[in-house]
Amino acid sequence: MDQLKNFTKGFIKENPVFALFLGLCPTLGVTTTAINGMGMGLATTFVLLMSNIVVALIKNFIPDKVRIPSFIVIIASFVTIVELTMQAYLPSLFEALGLFIPLIVVNCLVLGRAEAFASKNNLLSSAIDGLGMGLGFTFALTLLGAVREILGSGSIFGLKFIAGDGMLIFILSPGAFIALGYLIVIVNKLSKKGA
């Protein structure tokens, strides 16, 4: 497929969260604010991009039977790099994302793309696929984070526009599920209208 389509498919048509339902744990877990959602999305994009590149590069040297464990080691290494770098230079984001940073390694999106795409395509396509899917994931997380932040805290990206609290349920666990459910419907309805 041409590279432009390859890049943009991750945004709406094959959006990891809204269309493929992959990577749901961090989607619900960290989207209490738009910034957290964006941070997590970008961290995942980095891992996805780098692991897709490495897998595409060395795919011919990995015997078929051990490809899943090999992918896992590669992905886990990049996750650890993200962990350490964030802890050193972005400590408040690191604390906000918490447990979900090491959990990027079991994000079905990352392993899924390595297995379904990078192991079967060339370097350029794999890199662009990783970037596109990752940014689509970031878009979904930022959007959900923004919705929950606006409804739940009355702020966006940290800037408050009401005094006091919003509908707190949205920054708590049930609100995550409910907001995501409705967001899936809305996004899919809108994308069908445009398509």
Binding site: C25, V73, T80, L99, L103, V105, S173, P174, V185
Partner: protein, 190 residues
């Protein structure tokens, strides 16, 4: 007494799925029927408990003493991946029918964030060996509880008159949110 607190906290107050958001993928993917949910819960119980046990030993006897704590993510996930392979092999021999029933979901336990999550959390909370095992068992019971309850709800949902755009995943999420709200009532017990 400590154990009771760990158990109640893990199953109800800090339910792994409804409160900590771990294990969502199988939660949505497997909860179509109550039977598969029960099978999945059993498999998760087994893998989670042994994984937490092994990772506890690795963390306390290898990673920390040698100062290579940063290798935690890699070693933990490799342990889990190997354990799942092992369970697959054993299950194929011991109960081929259950193996068939679980199908693709068995290897998917590797990517079940709940298993890795519980292993990491046990380390973060500084539990000893016995407490970690209890923690793992309790969390998998909590996972199973949420999964089976949700499967029961979804089987009813299938027969309900849901507006077309909401059918399937979206309404499932909204219902999950209501279930999560119910579980919030347990907060403050421990």
């Amino acid at each position: 007494m400590e154990y009771i607190i760990i158990i109640i906290s893990a199953i109800f107050v800090n339910n792994i799925v409804l409160n900590k958001f771990l294990g969502i993928c199988p939660f949505i993917g497997v909860s179509g029927k109550v039977e598969t949910s029960v099978g999945m819960s059993g498999a998760v119980l087994f893998v989670m408990t042994i994984a937490t046990l092994v990772t506890y030993l690795i963390q306390n006897y290898i990673l920390t003493p040698f100062g290579i704590g940063y290798m935690q993510t890699i070693t933990f996930i490799l342990v889990i991946a190997s354990l799942v392979q092992l369970v697959e092999i054993i299950l194929k021999k011991v109960s081929p029918s259950l193996y068939q029933a679980l199908g693709i979901f068995l290897p998917l336990i590797t990517t079940n964030c709940a298993v890795l999550g519980v292993a990491i959390m046990a380390g973060q909370q500084d539990l000893n060996l016995m407490e970690s095992i209890v923690f793992a068992i309790a969390n998998s019971i909590g996972f199973g509880l949420a999964l089976i309850l949700f499967a029961g709800l979804r089987e009813h949902l299938d027969l309900a008159d849901v507006p077309r755009p909401m059918k399937g995943v979206p309404i499932a999420f909204v219902v999950a949110g209501l279930l999560a709200m119910a579980f919030m009532g347990f907060a403050g017990i421990v």
